[in-house]
């Protein structure tokens, strides 16, 4: 018993050092750290509300939520600078919220309202907020990967130092679109023309098919070797680890114009999406085990251990986030549907 306590204390001490050291290295003050906690909580509560209102029939189509994976996008987008671009697949709510999209507009988009982020024309899978650096939001697994690589080429073509954060899931890495685009990224990167940061969100399942059942070569990061793209893995449940990694690799990509890949090991704590009722592909025990490493809980412990926040302070942050989400739901609910004239707009761009 005493031994366990000592071990636990020792580990907390290490994590506490980790947080403090990382925060210091990144120049993050306590307020910034609490802000990151607030962002993760906001995402979780937003997704909870989305699932609830989906069940109430207020959200149509598909709904894929980010619960459990918060530390990945929160950590990487903390290294995002103005002029950078982010592009992802359909599990995209968190990316929009983190990049500064108004939660009201995001929820309204899910509700199919005219006040939505893309005027009710794309829904949950197609969030765009170009002004804030979000370039979608795509529904076809793997299909967005070449787009990100092309955007990265254009950035260097014009001589900018922007980085493209290209998010993809473990399910996308078996697709031709990934392999063809990664090959181009490696090729163009050789000449410093491809500042793509591949962020492989390995949540262990492509829908319900586990990595082991989808490929015989399960070291997914190593798949980037084929294209001469250097890579590493990070614990995607540990925000502190992600923050440190993200800052370092983003700067590297910015400086070199060469692509780099990070496999973030993470877990989807809820169902894949609408229609995934029984989760027959995984056990309750497995989910429970991962829940113990819930990224929000882990970060909470670190904040408490480091004395950056106390229980009361964290509670206040949660209340604040809940208010924002409640307000977003109310806004979406009260917003009008898009006017029918919108049906025919935005099919073609007008000539300048």
């Amino acid at each position: 018993m005493a031994t366990t306590q000592r071990a636990g204390k020792k580990q907390r001490q290490t994590e506490q050092d980790g947080l403090t050291a990382v925060a210091e290295a990144l120049g993050f003050d306590e307020e910034t750290l609490r802000g990151l906690y607030r962002k993760m909580v906001l995402i979780r509560l937003f997704e909870d509300a989305a699932q609830r209102t989906f069940r109430q029939g207020k959200i149509g189509g598909y709904l894929h939520v980010y619960s459990g994976q918060e530390a990945v996008a929160t950590g990487f987008l903390a290294a995002f600078q103005e002029g950078d671009r982010a592009i992802t697949a359909y599990r995209d709510h968190a990316h929009a919220l983190l990049l500064g999209s108004d939660p009201k507009a995001v929820m309204a988009e899910l509700f199919g309202r005219g006040t939505g982020l893309v005027k009710g024309k794309g829904g949950s899978m197609h969030l765009f907020d170009v002004a804030n650096g979000l370039w979608g939001g795509y529904g076809i697994v793997g299909g967005h990967i070449p787009l990100g690589v092309g955007m990265a080429y254009a950035e260097r073509y014009w001589g900018s130092d922007a980085v493209v954060q290209l998010y993809l899931g473990d399910g996308a890495i078996h697709n031709a679109a990934y392999h063809e685009a990664a090959n181009l990224a490696g090729l163009w990167g050789r000449d410093g023309l491809n500042p793509t940061l591949f962020i492989l969100e390995n949540n262990q399942y492509g829908m319900g098919t586990s990595v082991e059942r989808a490929t015989a070569m399960t070291d997914l990061a190593a798949k980037f070797d084929s294209y001469a793209i250097e890579h590493e893995k990070v614990d995607g449940m540990d925000l502190v680890a992600v923050l440190a990694c993200a800052q370092r690799v983003t700067e590297r990509v910015r400086e070199t114009g060469k692509p780099y890949a990070v496999e973030a090991l993470t877990y989807r704590l809820v169902a894949h999406g609408a229609g995934d009722f029984f989760e027959k592909y995984r056990t309750k025990e497995e989910v429970r085990t991962w829940r113990e490493r819930d990224p929000i809980g882990l970060f909470e412990q670190k904040l408490l251990a480091a004395g950056v926040a106390d229980e009361q302070g964290l509670g206040a942050i949660r209340d604040e986030a809940k208010q924002i989400v409640d307000e977003a739901v109310r806004f979406a609910d009260e917003s009008p549907e898009p006017p029918l004239e919108e049906l025919h707009t935005d099919v073609y761009a007008d000539a300048e």
């Binding site: 024309k121 197609h126 170009v130 370039w135 690589v149 090959n183 935005d346 761009a349 000539a351």
Partner: protein
């Protein structure tokens, strides 16, 4: 007026735009050092360098998708499909991304992209290398689809295509790269959505696009010389947007129409033209609208079979006679 080949006219438009606008870049298989399979891009690598003339691996989905990303980020890429037959590998990118991005981003994204290359058959390339994809790509809102047949139009429409802020499917008459025609010097953009009256006439409307236009023009001359029939020939040239007005105006005058295409008949451009005429010029028709199309088979290799698979002069003539209620 200078005379040049279809190939030279096409190239001249792209070179002019690359000179004028630094955002224009080209991607494709062997377009650079090799000089282009069809020599459309010959010499451009030396002229514009590897950053603007981008040789790609043989991976249509990847480089077409990358070009879409470039377009989203302020470039104006021209993608060469070595032949349009390979575009099926890029169809997800073209249809799911390029065509729809503007819409599902609520108007936040622009995709100024040209995808070009030879389309259609007639040179014994057999089943996998012979398609006419006007109907296929014409089906999707968000794309613009054109099919110029003269050197004049291939230049003028390429100028328009590169300047257009939307994805343009540019279907070249591959069998006609070496044909010559008058091409004005300088800048003359031919707008999309306007069919060309290639020959005026009052007795029957012969409607085609691509290399069938040339065949139909020959038949029109024959009808005039041998039978005193003055056929009007319409070159559609713009598949989407589609010029309904020119077709209807012609049929209201001639009261008879034959539509000729190389592609298969079902769900095709000719089907669209025939439907348009019956919807909006029904009372003007003196005969059913005739369609002459490719045979419903994959393209064969043997020369005699290939000839038999595509519309022949005799088939078009027979269709015209049926529409004219003439037996010859």
């Amino acid at each position: 007026m200078p005379v040049m080949t279809y190939r030279e006219a096409l190239k001249s438009a792209m070179v002019a735009e690359m000179e004028r606008d630094e955002s224009v870049v080209m991607l494709g298989e062997d377009i650079g050092i090799y000089g282009g399979t069809h020599l459309i891009t010959d010499g451009l690598f030396e002229r514009f360098g590897p950053k603007r003339i981008i040789d790609t691996p043989i991976a249509e989905g990847g480089f077409t998708g990358a070009a879409i990303g470039m377009a989203m980020a302020g470039l104006r890429p021209i993608v060469e499909m070595m032949t349009w037959n390979f575009s099926f590998l890029a169809a997800d990118q073209i249809i799911q991304n390029a065509a729809k991005l503007r819409y599902f981003s609520g108007g936040q994204v622009t995709v100024p992209l040209v995808i070009r290359g030879p389309n259609g058959g007639g040179v014994q390339l057999s089943a996998q290398h012979t398609h006419s994809l006007e109907g296929f790509y014409g089906h999707f809102p968000g794309l613009k689809v054109v099919s110029p047949v003269t050197p004049h139009d291939v230049k003028g429409m390429m100028l328009t295509a590169i300047r257009d802020p939307n994805p343009v499917i540019f279907l070249e008459a591959g069998a006609l790269y070496g044909t010559k025609g008058e091409v004005p010097e300088g800048d003359f953009a031919v707008p999309f959505g306007e069919a060309r009256v290639a020959r005026e006439g009052r007795d029957i409307s012969l409607i085609a696009y691509g290399r069938q236009v040339n065949m139909v023009l020959k038949i029109a001359d024959k009808l005039a010389a041998e039978e005193g029939v003055e056929a009007e020939v319409i070159d559609l040239r713009s598949i989407r947007p589609f010029d309904e007005g020119t077709i209807l105006e012609s049929v209201r005058k001639t009261n008879r129409a034959v539509v000729v295409q190389e592609q298969w008949r079902y769900y095709s451009v000719a089907s669209e033209v025939a439907a348009l005429i019956q919807e909006q010029a029904f009372d003007h028709l003196d005969a059913p609208v005739e369609r002459v199309s490719g045979e419903e088979v994959p393209a064969p290799y043997a020369r005699n079979l290939e000839v038999a698979a595509f519309p022949s002069e005799q088939q078009i003539l027979d269709a015209a006679h049926r529409a004219l209620y003439r037996k010859v």
